[in-house]
Subunit: 254 residues, 8 copies
Amino acid sequence: MKEILQKLTEGKISILEAEKQLKIMQIQEINDFAKLDTGREARTGIPEAIFAEGKDDDDLIKIILRGTEIGRLMVTRLEKDRYHILKSQIDTLKDKGFKIEYNKKARILLIKNHEIEREGKIGVITAGTSDIPVAEEARITAEEVGCEVLVSYDVGVAGIHRLFSHIKNMIDEDVKAIIVVAGMEGALPSVVAGLVDVPVIGVPTSVGYGVGEGGFTALFAMLQSCAPGIAAVNIDNGFGAGVFAAKIAKQSLK
Amino acid sequence: MKEILQKLTEGKISILEAEKQLKIMQIQEINDFAKLDTGREARTGIPEAIFAEGKDDDDLIKIILRGTEIGRLMVTRLEKDRYHILKSQIDTLKDKGFKIEYNKKARILLIKNHEIEREGKIGVITAGTSDIPVAEEARITAEEVGCEVLVSYDVGVAGIHRLFSHIKNMIDEDVKAIIVVAGMEGALPSVVAGLVDVPVIGVPTSVGYGVGEGGFTALFAMLQSCAPGIAAVNIDNGFGAGVFAAKIAKQSLK
Amino acid sequence: MKEILQKLTEGKISILEAEKQLKIMQIQEINDFAKLDTGREARTGIPEAIFAEGKDDDDLIKIILRGTEIGRLMVTRLEKDRYHILKSQIDTLKDKGFKIEYNKKARILLIKNHEIEREGKIGVITAGTSDIPVAEEARITAEEVGCEVLVSYDVGVAGIHRLFSHIKNMIDEDVKAIIVVAGMEGALPSVVAGLVDVPVIGVPTSVGYGVGEGGFTALFAMLQSCAPGIAAVNIDNGFGAGVFAAKIAKQSLK
Amino acid sequence: MKEILQKLTEGKISILEAEKQLKIMQIQEINDFAKLDTGREARTGIPEAIFAEGKDDDDLIKIILRGTEIGRLMVTRLEKDRYHILKSQIDTLKDKGFKIEYNKKARILLIKNHEIEREGKIGVITAGTSDIPVAEEARITAEEVGCEVLVSYDVGVAGIHRLFSHIKNMIDEDVKAIIVVAGMEGALPSVVAGLVDVPVIGVPTSVGYGVGEGGFTALFAMLQSCAPGIAAVNIDNGFGAGVFAAKIAKQSLK
Amino acid sequence: MKEILQKLTEGKISILEAEKQLKIMQIQEINDFAKLDTGREARTGIPEAIFAEGKDDDDLIKIILRGTEIGRLMVTRLEKDRYHILKSQIDTLKDKGFKIEYNKKARILLIKNHEIEREGKIGVITAGTSDIPVAEEARITAEEVGCEVLVSYDVGVAGIHRLFSHIKNMIDEDVKAIIVVAGMEGALPSVVAGLVDVPVIGVPTSVGYGVGEGGFTALFAMLQSCAPGIAAVNIDNGFGAGVFAAKIAKQSLK
Amino acid sequence: MKEILQKLTEGKISILEAEKQLKIMQIQEINDFAKLDTGREARTGIPEAIFAEGKDDDDLIKIILRGTEIGRLMVTRLEKDRYHILKSQIDTLKDKGFKIEYNKKARILLIKNHEIEREGKIGVITAGTSDIPVAEEARITAEEVGCEVLVSYDVGVAGIHRLFSHIKNMIDEDVKAIIVVAGMEGALPSVVAGLVDVPVIGVPTSVGYGVGEGGFTALFAMLQSCAPGIAAVNIDNGFGAGVFAAKIAKQSLK
Amino acid sequence: MKEILQKLTEGKISILEAEKQLKIMQIQEINDFAKLDTGREARTGIPEAIFAEGKDDDDLIKIILRGTEIGRLMVTRLEKDRYHILKSQIDTLKDKGFKIEYNKKARILLIKNHEIEREGKIGVITAGTSDIPVAEEARITAEEVGCEVLVSYDVGVAGIHRLFSHIKNMIDEDVKAIIVVAGMEGALPSVVAGLVDVPVIGVPTSVGYGVGEGGFTALFAMLQSCAPGIAAVNIDNGFGAGVFAAKIAKQSLK
Amino acid sequence: MKEILQKLTEGKISILEAEKQLKIMQIQEINDFAKLDTGREARTGIPEAIFAEGKDDDDLIKIILRGTEIGRLMVTRLEKDRYHILKSQIDTLKDKGFKIEYNKKARILLIKNHEIEREGKIGVITAGTSDIPVAEEARITAEEVGCEVLVSYDVGVAGIHRLFSHIKNMIDEDVKAIIVVAGMEGALPSVVAGLVDVPVIGVPTSVGYGVGEGGFTALFAMLQSCAPGIAAVNIDNGFGAGVFAAKIAKQSLK
């Protein structure tokens, strides 16, 4: 501010010009706090993310097109059938230099004009086959934020001793956080948190039936785990877990 | 293992001795995984913690005395009145070189035979006066795990601009995680997560009445925050948040 | 009443006629209290509204035709596909001088034989694209009751500073109430109520998943907002919010 | 801003002085938006309100003393027994020119250094004796915000025809909003909203047992009333209803 | 029993025959208590009722055919589409002298080999068009149990004064119970119970959205009505209300 | 009405007098519909009932004294300790010819200036000792409305065969309805409804723990009983069941 | 039956006598099915159990005295303070040859006139100190039904390897079922069921706070455990688990 | 272990060989505890079970093919339509000597390379036609684990006396446990547990509507049954009940 006022008294800029520059400066300060979503990706590495469910096709296309004017973009919860309906319109972005990747399992669409360098590692573990879509959403999200991700998905099939060796491997690779995706009684995050010292992020899934329908039991079990060092995100929220774990990994790079 | 077998073939130890040594080794390996609570503190910095609620006085004293044989100890959710009842028996531990500290607000009793060096910083923020006990539980826990803790408790009274300056200060001090304690509609963690890039750990409190009774609205609001990068712990679980945040801070020291 | 009795004693009307007139008068008095829906629109400006969900097509057509005998009408929650099924039968009302307007986003069908003059202003704000249908239902309803409506729907995309400028604009335009539509953690009404002195009406939406499914978290968050001066309507109830806000605006015209 | 810059160029103030004045101005602008609680009362008429439940006695006294440095104050949910404990310390404020009033029914403590002029009217209705404390909380709050309040509390005892005459009286007195407090099945706000055109604010109470315990049925019944023009506040939240109704009444004075 | 033993001592029957007759008698006694569904209709007038939902087509046909061997039958919750699938197989029962009636609104299929005489009256009231299917289920059920039923379905459309006249008419006709079907906030049974002295049976419906979804608010509102003399049946359970009301009506015929 | 007008034309009364008489007549008509609580007892036999919980002592005494000006009164949910506090003030009513009876088990206080003749019978059954207070509330209420009540409370202790004989006895005595009070899994009303043809009114109790706490399981089990002919009242609502059953019994006396 | 009829035809008994004997026989048959609680203990080994909570002192004493006329008795959920109030009256039973034992932890009072022989073994495991009262209730119950019980309560303190060795010991001792008592996230039964082939009975406890309050998370986690072979009883229901496990153990003795 | 070390000292094996053998032994020990799912069937008789719901077709086929490499397999919750889609790929397993059986009612697919010998009996009872699929899932599961199963499904239709005779038959056949499947108010397990001494396993079903939707009432009713000796599994969990009952039956064969 002093600089602007100095210029004014020195007659280098007019009062009008000074007023304008001060206002711009002020808005930038507010923006620094308010952290506008535009430009966000450049500063923080978290790409703009659009939740596709509950938006109609017209709105979704509009938001995607507007969003890509600013930069890289990811669309979450986009079912395969719906992707195929929107595909032709999205493909026009290729002409603008965007790379388009759709991951069926994770139901994520990536629209990128550049790749993110990956630094810092996290792990993603799940035991049940039905939990893999949520785990994949977490993996891709963390990668797009700029992390390297180690996964272990077939734990349940191969038995508990492979869980041990996979976790040991993650610790050896110095992961900074482990995401554990689990439905049903949601006990896996407790088991993992009992074995490691890195923060464990529990992601409950809505897999299950009867008293487990909706994923609330898994969520509540994670929240009151006997093993300290667990925090949880919303049911099926692989995206949120991916961002959170990546934020942890980024801390140690500073 | 090779070493033991080598000694056996060299006749330096008997079969019986080898068998014994192998068994001990094997148990140690399992223990490495199972991470027994005994000895835990030495390795990880997380002191043994005892949840006082729901345990009767006799059991609590027994567990405390047994626990201090292993080392440092913290007792959580110990109401002031109850502390005064148990005080005389706990004070006998002073003869064994323990330092006894009781924090009325946080309802935490610390029994320590040594101090923990504090490395790595975290922040703790709360807006409501009624949320301070939970925030204090988080602060003391994180300190006992070995973190330096910056607090900001009077945000609500002094207005939102002080929140901004406090958060700015925490970021300048390079905190690795911020714990945000909030009851009622639980919106504060979202506000904070919208302003910073460090992981935000939401702690819902059971403060409130009507639809807010029990803290579920605060919890659920945190879990589905529009601002990514938030994870939550159980309602009123300052201890869990303190351990989790400290684990994050420890990652960047490795 | 005195008047009728006077006429009777003066012999201008017979006892029978007096009795009949007194009974009519009495029913009118009860009607004044009971406020029959017939004739309602003329007096209060609130058009007869029919909730289409849960009514079969035959019943809906019957109710619409009977309703238009009395006057202006609005049908809410009428999905586009269903409108096209009923269209041909409704279009016959054009011959009777009705104007037919269907709004796809708001899922509202308007059947009008005259336009309402708009006096008094309210504002409608929403941040999420998925919340727009409910916001539109509120807007159209308030307009049909006779209010001028200022809207701000793209807040979330353009950033918080546009929210500030939009709200400032609404205040400058002297809106008498602001409807804030929000799903997920439902924090927006609190933010708005913290910035303005006009009454804020929160409309929770059922947008969301996991712990937010059904909109209860958004509703409960609004009900226990730290910012006083908020009241809420049922989840997704844009119609109710529109009527309520319009009633507020009408108060200052009296 | 132009003014300050003008002075600077005219040499009336130094750069340092200009910088300082610009910063103060900027903070005031943010404050205008952020609406700091300090000074709030002067601008809006809503006195600083402190919710006593969940705060310990020491904290409560501290907040009251600090609060009165700024001005008028109301303490809600302060039980009689607790008031008597705090009384001696609060009474010291009398020396500073404060008037102290405690309302047992409403559990509200008023600490005022001036009276508020009352303009604009609202009504408060309740049928059940058990609902009166919440109704009184609403009444006193609205009065302290500067409204005139008409009450009708004995409706249930005297029968429905007195309800009719009381409501008629309120309408004749031109109330701008009616607060209806009701527990159990929460039907009264619907009945009132069916009779009047002014906005009706429903306050559910936690009175009741069995399926009605906690007040959720009353709340949910109000939220889905067949009569449009009702909005609700949190269970037992007489304070919130009082502020909201007063805000409506203030709209027509502008 | 004495009779059988008498015959035995008189040599009119053998021990074997006596044993057989005693066993038959004993089973009949247990049956009198256990009230086997076979033969039930003959004694009590309540026809065998089959709930179609949740049964597959094969099972349903089997149960219907077996049931008609015993007598009259009603199938509830049978959607129109499903009825048309089963129609050809059911129509074969016409050859056995059964009359087949399907009511689309009530979703009830009647298979009768004789008509029931109707004695004793009950009333069925509903205000909302969407509640009519449940009301019709109640009406047909009560008629099949042998009651005369007075209905009033268009109350909501024609206004409250027609409700009064309809209720007055029911009382004049000496109905022994009134079934009131209501969704949303479920207030109508309270209103009716406040006007009449006959027992009122509330039937909550699952009509509604937001906080009213599923019908729980309507149910809970009925259960805690301020007007004594109301009891409720399960949500949407028109059948149960019909049987219950008919049982009341039958009491006064004894 | 004709009569009054006739008198007017005949000059027997003045216009003023006619107007006054017509207004009185009109209010009486409304009162007939609105059924004011004053005078209610005389017409319907249901005494004015006051729910003591949630009312403070001062209010309760005031309501009782005012109520007895009209006639007979019952106070429900009045705990023994509280009765003893109020006793001296209530006893003053003895001077006005009231008889005062307090039933400790049922927690009911009766204040009567005349006895009600008992006509028509109902039954009250309960299995658990803990359910007896609610059953007694039902019994006394039904008696005060003017019914004869047969009770069977020790079923659970003496075994199921006594239940059978008690029910048989009730049927022999021609009870018109049976109230069945049950907590825990709430199965008893189903068993009874399977044995008798009279209407069964289920009263769930809040007795129980774990999943049964609060009485919701018992309520929900009654509402979806396989045995048709059951309706339920609110949890612990012995009063409501008593009134409802009595209303049924009164039907057959008409 | 043949025998009685034979005697009748042989003239050894009169018709009256035959009728009487046949009726007695018939009642005994019903009793065999209805399994009256009187005499139950003799046949099944399950002593009469009285749940003390929710019964007042007078009723409880009456039930105990009446119960001991039949035989052995256990009173559950009898708090220590309450036991001391009732003690003097219960002690009179010593004169009748009863032995009186009160277990403070389990809150069980045993009144026995003979000891039960213990055959068949079960195990009881719990990890948390706060879960011990429920585990003790299960242990004493199973012992009183006639089982030998192996317990392992300090698992949590000594670490997971002791759990392994305790479970191994139970299997070596050939327990027929293992009761696992657990609160919080309720994961222990799953762990145990993953290690053994005997049936595991989960007993959730109401220990916990926040989302775990009331024990529902523990219950639901047990019900949807990934490890098959678990069934659950009500929250805190040590008695039920004890009876159920004992019934399993008794099966293999047949 | 001694054996290996012996061989080493005797020079029969090298240190390397000894080390390898010791490690294998150690893994086997851990495996003994961890009970890997591979090989599980051979040891325990419980075949590998795959829950088909929530897995996509590709994953399901992969898991089935991998699973059959180990041995016998059962796929639960596989709807008929889906089975027909997968049929061709599964049928290829016939070439590898597998027998393929699909049970439409139970929605179970069995893939077996050998039959299990059946020893030990259990019973399965259900009253409602809609509960049969869950009962069949339990039956087939228990048979595949190696039990003989007695069923009684038509109880409800034929009347309660057939229930008695069926239960009597099961007891005569010496079943070791009875599975009772029930929806609605879930009372049947209580009735059965009141009649027999063998353990009763309740399986609540999600059959029902209104307050019974989802099966929670049935579950909660079973959990708090007045008849001791009942434990419950998750809603609709026929598989879990089958395994649990079979485990009980297997106990008495040891």
